[in-house]
């Protein structure tokens, strides 16, 4: 008797390296449920991760995987999709990997409407290296590089991707795995740049140091209590939204992808 997703783990190599109660484990699990429910052929998929805890997820998937350089996931993905457009590419990344060092590639991949699915694990800090400031760390919180509290404003990466041109954008948390699985399924089947932000618990680093909660269950409760849906958020005054996580599907539209543009251009070249 085993967990139904065990068969999708590369070499069944478990236990994985994620900490007790880590959101990355949940994201891996939800991704596998989504792949299973969609009955996708994993041999026609490529998982790309950069550097960081969530970027280690591709190493556990039983498919072609690139464990690449910090922040360059979407650059790899651009090369892979242009070389072999029939492959389904899923990018596993983190808030620092995607929003800081990889920020440039993020906005350009969104602008190009590259047909990939990006699952960004937002755990509030650079956990793998010990808990440094990340672009999504809320103001005022402790990180190892902001020992007196963060003085910067954080990003809303979903809004950034929307402005850059992403065509499927959603935010969920690891306290809502059923909704997350639905969103990942929608992202994987969406034709175009799908971006799913997953606000995820990190009991070992962010929870312990920034929030002062080290228990995994309390961390996930924190996420649950502080989540408001998009519809609820619209009715609340802005003061009440401070510190809240707005979840839901923000954007879903169909626009020509980069591949469509290439095919259009190549048809013209053939005719000439």
């Amino acid at each position: 008797m085993e967990h139904p997703n065990l068969k999708y783990i590369r070499g069944k190599k478990l236990p994985h390296m994620f900490c007790q109660g880590c959101g990355c484990g949940e994201i891996l699990n939800c991704l596998l449920f989504a792949i299973d429910e969609l009955k996708l052929d994993m041999s026609k998929m490529v998982a790309i991760g950069g550097v960081g805890c969530s970027s280690r997820i591709p190493a556990y998937l039983d498919m072609y995987a690139i464990h690449g350089i910090h922040g360059r996931n979407l650059a790899y993905a651009t090369g892979v999709k242009l070389a072999k457009p029939e492959l389904k590419v899923v990018v596993l990344t983190g808030d620092g990997d995607c929003g800081a060092i990889g920020g440039n590639h993020l906005i350009h991949a969104a602008r190009r409407n590259l047909d990939v699915t990006v699952i960004m694990d937002n755990n509030g800090s650079y956990a793998m290296t010990g808990g440094q400031l990340a672009p999504t760390t809320p103001t005022g919180l402790y990180t190892t590089t902001t020992p007196r509290g963060n003085i910067e404003r954080p990003f809303d990466i979903c809004k950034l991707v929307e402005a850059a041109g992403g065509t499927y954008i959603a935010r969920w948390t690891t306290a809502h795995p059923a909704a997350l699985i639905r969103a990942i399924k929608q992202g994987l089947t969406h034709k175009g740049f799908a971006f799913i932000e997953v606000v995820s618990q990190c009991p070992t680093i962010y929870g312990r140091y920034a929030l002062g909660i080290s228990d995994p269950v309390e961390n996930i409760e924190y996420l649950r209590k502080n989540s408001v849906t998009k519809e609820q958020a619209e009715k609340l005054p802005s003061e009440e939204l401070v510190g809240k996580i707005v979840i839901g599907k923000f954007v879903e539209k169909q626009l020509p992808t980069l591949e469509d543009a290439y095919l259009g251009m190549e048809r013209q070249v053939k005719r000439a």
Binding site: R10, G11, K13, M42, S43, K44, V46, I48, P58, A59, D62, M63, Y64, A65, I66, H67, G68, I69, R72, A75, Y76, A77, T78, G79, V80, L82, A83, K84, E86, L87, N104, H105, H108, Y262, M265, E266, V269
Partner: protein
């Protein structure tokens, strides 16, 4: 044909089907040429948002099975080191054209001879080719792809602003005349195929995205199955194999031309555009009765030691003219050793040594 366009045609002749680049003078014509030509030959071109995007897109495309190339200049090449290091560690065949030029300006230079080899981590081998004419830009680009596929390593074509932007007549061989090397495909079935097990030539067979092998590519230390592993001995073995696969074949890789080296008492060792002036100078010196010779290097890394030692066999003095502060001179000195006196001729003024200048130096050394 323009030098940069010869690079484009060389890449296409070798089977390049993907190019990613970022604008930088003097490599723009390569990007522009590729933008024009790639759709015509069933390939894909993309202008990425920066050089880092370019080098990693090229890595991704190569892993997906296509021969891939990028082109940049010295400053952009600085950026790409991460990607080159990744390609060395994960053994991805790619070609990078570095059109050397001065910092900030478009002056000719040969500044990158060390960066080309040591710019990435440096703790490995690199194959760096140094063309000196437009014809060689074509030929050596084809050769670069062949080396990349043969050794599963990045290969650098070290062009220069001078050569890339000059026009010369070239002969493009018919496709049947060209020797094209492709990466070795796996023969074992999935479950038995070890993606990082070196064969006799220490180079593993390579699968591509979309087939049934499901390999994990990483630059972390990994075992022969591709699994990330932390045992110390494993790391050392892996890197020894990655280094030796090229180091062992340094003499096979060596590409050079020698002129009058059999009995040369004064030998010139030059590469790239410098070799052009040396050719005239040596011919003129011989006419004056001076026993001068030229070893024109078409690849500077891995060091063509055997060729250098043989050429310097009779030489009392070895002159190394370069358009930098005298970098390859140190390599020559180390290789040839105490047998001859090695003299560095650096010139960092954005111009190559003229044949007269070199002739003066030859006379002085005589």
């Amino acid at each position: 044909m323009l030098g940069n366009h010869a690079i484009v045609e060389g890449a296409i002749a070798a089977g390049c089907k993907f190019f990613a680049g970022y604008p930088i003078t003097p490599a723009n014509e390569i990007s522009e040429g590729m933008a024009q030509r790639m759709p015509e030959v069933g390939g894909r071109f993309i202008q990425m948002e920066d050089e880092l995007g370019s080098i990693f897109a090229v890595c991704g495309a190569s892993l997906a099975g296509k021969k891939a190339m990028t082109a940049t200049a010295s400053a952009g090449y600085n950026y790409m080191q991460e990607g080159i290091e990744y390609a060395v560690a994960a053994e991805i065949p790619i070609v990078i054209v570095d059109v050397m030029r001065q910092r900030g300006e478009n002056f000719p230079t040969q500044s990158d001879v060390m960066q080309a080899r040591y710019g990435a981590a440096g703790d490995h081998e690199m194959i760096v080719l140094t063309p000196s004419s437009v014809q060689e830009l074509f030929d050596l680009t084809v050769q670069a792809f062949n080396f990349a596929e043969q050794f599963r390593n990045p290969v650098i074509v070290l062009s220069e602003a001078t050569i890339s932007l000059m026009r010369e007549g070239i002969r493009i061989p018919r496709q049947e005349e060209l020797k094209i090397v492709n990466r070795k495909k796996p023969i074992d079935p999935p479950g038995e195929f070890m993606p990082f097990r070196g064969e006799e030539d220490l180079v593993p067979r390579m699968s591509e995205f979309g087939d049934e092998y499901k390999v994990l590519y990483t630059h972390n230390p990994h075992d022969e199955w591709g699994r990330i592993a932390w045992t110390p001995k494993l790391y050392e073995d892996l890197y020894n194999r990655i280094t030796q696969k090229i180091a062992n074949k340094a003499d096979e890789i060596a590409l050079y031309e020698s002129l009058f080296t059999d009995d040369a008492e004064i030998l010139l060792i030059a590469y790239g555009s410098e070799a052009r002036g040396c050719l005239d100078a040596v011919t003129a010196a011989r006419a004056l009765g001076i026993k001068a010779g030229l070893l024109k290097l078409k690849n500077i890394w891995p060091i063509p030691a055997k060729a250098m030692v043989e050429a310097a066999h009779h030489s009392k003095k070895v002159l190394v003219p370069e358009m930098n502060t005298g970098r390859y001179y140190h390599v020559v000195k180390e290789v040839i050793g105490a047998g001859s006196e090695i003299i560095s001729l650096p010139k960092n003024q954005g111009r190559i040594h003229s044949p007269d200048e070199i002739l003066q130096e030859i006379k002085r050394a005589n």
